[in-house]
């Protein structure tokens, strides 16, 4: 059978006559892409780091006459191993996207209606200053009245230094609480490190739900292709179809499978006793709990729909392997038991001894970079963040989006939040319940968006500041990897197009405008500062207290990189980062081609599989029981998978061509997959008389969407799925506007209480052909 999203080639023969004189439905910018047969002589290649998704692959940008004409993989980077995915290749279309934000804009219409006027950078800064000074004055210098958020991995710390350390707000939010914080937290709390999965070193990989062939994370996705691996998923993803064994499962019941694996391993003494003896804390508690609850294969089979024999065999296969790995995915918060699920997954790895060793969860030895010291003001009147109230652990860095939003819209926050600075974080599409996000933004007196494209969120902004793309800027050097560590540098490939600027330049401009006026407000309300002024004078207190917001940007990024790299790693390391984009110790010696553009980065005996570290595997988390939660992974009846008659559980995920909302406007990627379809089991679809391409209405208790149908045998009969990131409501996003359906329109906004993460796979829907 054929996938509708794939080959269109067969269409050609029958339609030759029709398309001879028809012009292409899309026109590329011919000025940029009209490649002649002669080869340019001015071709240069500049190393860069990709930003089309979270992964950050390394590449070389081919530049001809100041235009980027091709992006190619970088063979020197251990993490991405000489490859670029479809998104990485289509980066050119992100740079030269005609829809890009080109100039600073100030809103002239209502929020959301898309009417803006072009202004100068100074006018934009001036507008922000006037609003912000008024807000902070009204809030008596409580800097936390500003919330600021960032959805991009790179530059996040820079952004926090500006709005958190310098301006003084406690309210930073990032994508962690709508992505993977339960996984990070569960790993950290159980083995003391977030770790890194060594897929390459494992001889048996078990994957629950993660879709490494359609949501690429390197080197895992690359390494997996040569492995024996089992996939458990309600949907037969490409990863499942390429696996050694695929086990369909009831959604949200993976914890039952894991508990049963633990039960079988303990009951039958399959676990690594020496490792458990040496590293486990409270193993006796875990053992008696699991045995008492009797999580047998028969029990788990009823919960999961996986046959009992297969659960038993899977457990035996896993624990009898030399280096088994239970793979922890990303964007992973499915249901309210997610933290317990991730804990159980770490515990299974630990029971097999697959921690801090080849093929397991690696601690490794990442390269540490010196931090830059800045003088941070102390604000007397700044209040603490409130989004972790009611959350057991939570990330003190990125917080909890849904809890934050609830407290703002319900007016239950301890103080009003009046301004938001939103950088590359599409709040209007990225979390469940868009109406609520809109309500939150409408409560703000000032919304500023920094982005490269006119997202749905940008359409809610009062001021839009056009940031340049990743190929138009140099970023601070980044340390990658634990097993095969390296430094990598995003070099600037071309100068920013239009009037866009790098984030640092934007913050520098904003800082210049805001430093003194905001300091003046502190002078009014801050008694500590008033004392300092008495002692040092106003200018002295300003300098001494670190109120100059532009401190970090006095030096160029290039100079700051030199200052961080050269004293610690030498001039040669810096030169390598500039010419090759990558550096690690002994790179010239270690890096060699094995076969057909495949490289070795570290010799086997130099990889950091095992390091000396004192750590324990924590079976029992006291803090959880104190807060009324299960201290050890436990099944509750409320986790049972149930859908009412004629209802389906909605789950979400990815196509390989799209990351999130930013890539769905990419002309090249849209050309590969034109829209999203809802997957519905073929037998069910037949009963409902739904055929391929039919428009269906998908209705949840929250809202409804319409979308084209894809009946398939690749999905659980009680489950429907469609890919995240589609259907922008911003008309300025010409390719993604009104195209497909948005998952967060119908997902009910609920969050689990251990990390405050939005759960994504709990919503039941009905389907109706229209």
């Amino acid at each position: 059978m054929k996938l509708i999203e794939t080959s269109r080639r067969r269409f050609l023969k029958s339609s030759v006559a029709l398309c001879i004189y028809a012009s292409s439905s899309f026109g590329k910018n011919t000025q940029l892409f009209n490649q002649s047969n002669k080869v340019q002589t001015t071709l240069i290649n500049i190393p860069y780091l990709c930003n089309m998704c979270r992964n950050k692959c390394a590449g070389f940008a081919q530049v001809e006459n100041n235009k980027i004409t091709k992006l190619n993989p970088n063979k020197f980077f251990p993490k991405s191993r000489n490859m670029l995915c479809p998104k990485g290749n289509a980066g050119i279309d992100a740079i030269y996207d005609k829809d890009r934000l080109k100039y600073p804009l100030i809103r002239i219409g209502n929020r959301g209606d898309g009417r803006y006027k072009r202004v100068t950078w100074d006018e934009a800064y001036e507008y922000i200053k006037d609003k912000l000074v008024n807000i902070i004055d009204t809030q008596k210098d409580n800097r936390s009245t500003i919330a600021y958020c960032n959805g991009e991995g790179f530059n996040k710390d820079e952004y926090i230094k500006f709005f958190g350390d310098k301006i003084g707000s406690s309210n930073f939010l990032d994508e962690g609480s709508i992505c993977l914080n339960t996984k990070l937290g569960a790993t950290l709390l159980t083995i003391g490190d977030v770790g890194e999965m060594d897929v390459a070193g494992s001889d048996f990989v078990l994957i629950l739900g993660a879709n490494r062939f359609e949501s690429l994370i390197t080197p895992d996705s690359i390494d997996l292709v040569n492995k024996k691996f089992v996939v458990v998923d309600p949907r037969a993803t490409v990863t499942a179809l390429k696996s050694s064994q695929y086990l369909p499962i009831n959604p949200g019941t993976d914890l039952a499978l894991c508990l049963s694996m633990i039960y079988i391993a303990i009951k039958n003494n399959l676990y690594n006793k020496q490792y458990v003896k040496e590293y486990f804390k409270d193993f006796d508690k875990l053992k008696s709990h699991i045995l008492k609850e009797k999580y047998t294969a028969t029990w788990a089979s009823k919960k999961t729909a996986i046959p009992k024999e297969k659960i038993e065999q899977l457990t035996k296969d896993f624990f009898s392997s030399i280096a088994p790995l239970l793979y922890m995915g990303r964007r992973s918060v499915w249901t309210k038991n997610d933290f317990q699920l991730r804990r159980a997954m770490v515990l299974i790895n630990a029971l097999a001894g697959s921690i801090n060793r080849k093929g397991g969860i690696i601690f490794g030895q990442p390269i540490s970079l010196a931090s830059e010291e800045i003088n941070t003001p102390m604000y007397d009147n700044t209040k603490e963040r409130f989004d972790l109230d009611g959350i057991v652990y939570g990330s003190s860095k990125g917080g909890s989006w849904l809890n934050f939003r609830d407290k703002v819209v319900n007016n239950t926050a301890p103080y009003p939040v009046k301004a938001m600075f939103i950088r590359k974080h599409n709040l209007m599409q990225n979390m469940p319940n868009i109406a609520k996000t809109k309500k939150m933004l409408n409560m703000m007196e000032l919304v500023v968006v920094l982005d490269t494209i006119p997202t749905d969120t940008a359409m809610m902004a009062d001021v839009v500041l056009p940031e340049c793309t990743y190929l138009e800027r140099e970023d601070m050097v980044v340390s990658f990897g634990k097993l095969e560590p390296s430094l990598a540098l995003r070099n600037q490939v071309i100068k920013p197009l239009y009037e866009s600027k790098s984030m640092q330049d934007i913050l520098k401009g904003l800082g210049k405008k805001l430093s003194r006026p905001l300091f003046d407000i502190s002078c009014k309300y801050d008694s500590e500062l008033q004392d300092s002024i008495k002692e040092l004078g106003k200018d002295g207190a300003y300098i001494d207290g670190g109120y100059d917001l532009t401190e970090l940007y006095k030096k160029s990024i290039t100079q700051r990189n030199k200052d961080i790299i050269i004293p610690h790693f030498g001039q040669k390391a810096y030169d390598n980062l500039v010419s090759k984009g990558v550096w690690y110790d002994n790179m010239e010696q270690y890096h060699k081609e094995i076969f057909n553009e495949t490289y070795e980065y570290y010799p086997e005996d130099k990889k950091y599989y095992t390091i000396k570290r004192d750590y324990k595997v924590n079976c029992y988390l006291e803090k959880l029981s104190k807060n009324g939660f299960d201290p050890m992974p436990t099944w509750r009846d409320e986790y049972n998978f149930e859908v009412a008659k004629n209802h389906f559980r909605f789950i979400t995920g990815r196509y390989v061509n799209f990351t999130q909302t930013a890539t769905t406007n990419n002309a090249m990627l849209r050309d590969i997959i034109s829209t999203n379809h809802i997957w519905i089991n073929n037998k069910i679809a037949k009963k409902l008389e739904i055929k391929l391409g039919d428009i269906v209405e998908v209705k949840s208790p929250q809202s409804s969407v319409t979308i084209k149908a894809y009946p398939t045998n690749k999905i659980h009969p009680s489950v429907v799925w469609f890919a995240h990131g589609f259907n922008s409501t911003s008309e300025a996003m010409t390719n993604s506007y009104n195209n497909g359906a948005n998952d967060n329109e119908i997902i009910e906004d609920k969050f689990e209480k251990i990390y405050g993460c939005a759960t994504m796979h709990h919503t039941n829907v009905t389907i109706r052909k229209i």
């Binding site: 047969n37 995915c85 062939f213 037969a236 076969f595 390989v656 690749k714």
Partner: protein, 187 residues
Amino acid sequence: MANYGMAFDYKLCINCKACEVACKEENGIDLGANNHRLWIDTTEPDGDIWDLDLTQTRYMPTQCQHCEDAPCLKACPNDAIYRDKNGIVRLYNDRCDLSLDCIKACPYDARYIDTRKKITDKCLFCADTRLARGETTTACQLTCPTKVRIFGDLDDPQSEISKTLKSREYFTLKSNLGTKPKLFYLE
């Protein structure tokens, strides 16, 4: 002078289409659903979700076969199609009048109509771009996450492709037609 061919370790393909995008970017292929020099034929299991036969899964990247006995070359009424010094089947763009005889003759569906240039286009092993610059990789080969393609000179016994074809079993597509394709699928 070379005799370029390509081997596909096709079982490594994960159908991500990085090759297709890389090809389009490298060679300036117009956007549009029918425009591509390479594509991936997919076969996925029939049957019920609870009992899928995974051995049926097949992702098969393919493109112009650069046949030694190329039907398109013989079919063109304008002698627009030729084989270059590297064994690559090429087109004199100015001689093409879109008679479409080559498209009809090609048993592999390798050609499509480039409406902008008004020619029939297909894979050239990046002859106009990478090979012309003296590089010896194709865009599709290099970008591939799992390195499905092995590209090289079939006449050079030391090339990776020659060594691979010597040491591994392979098949060609529609070999019964006698076209002698230069794309080889590794078992």
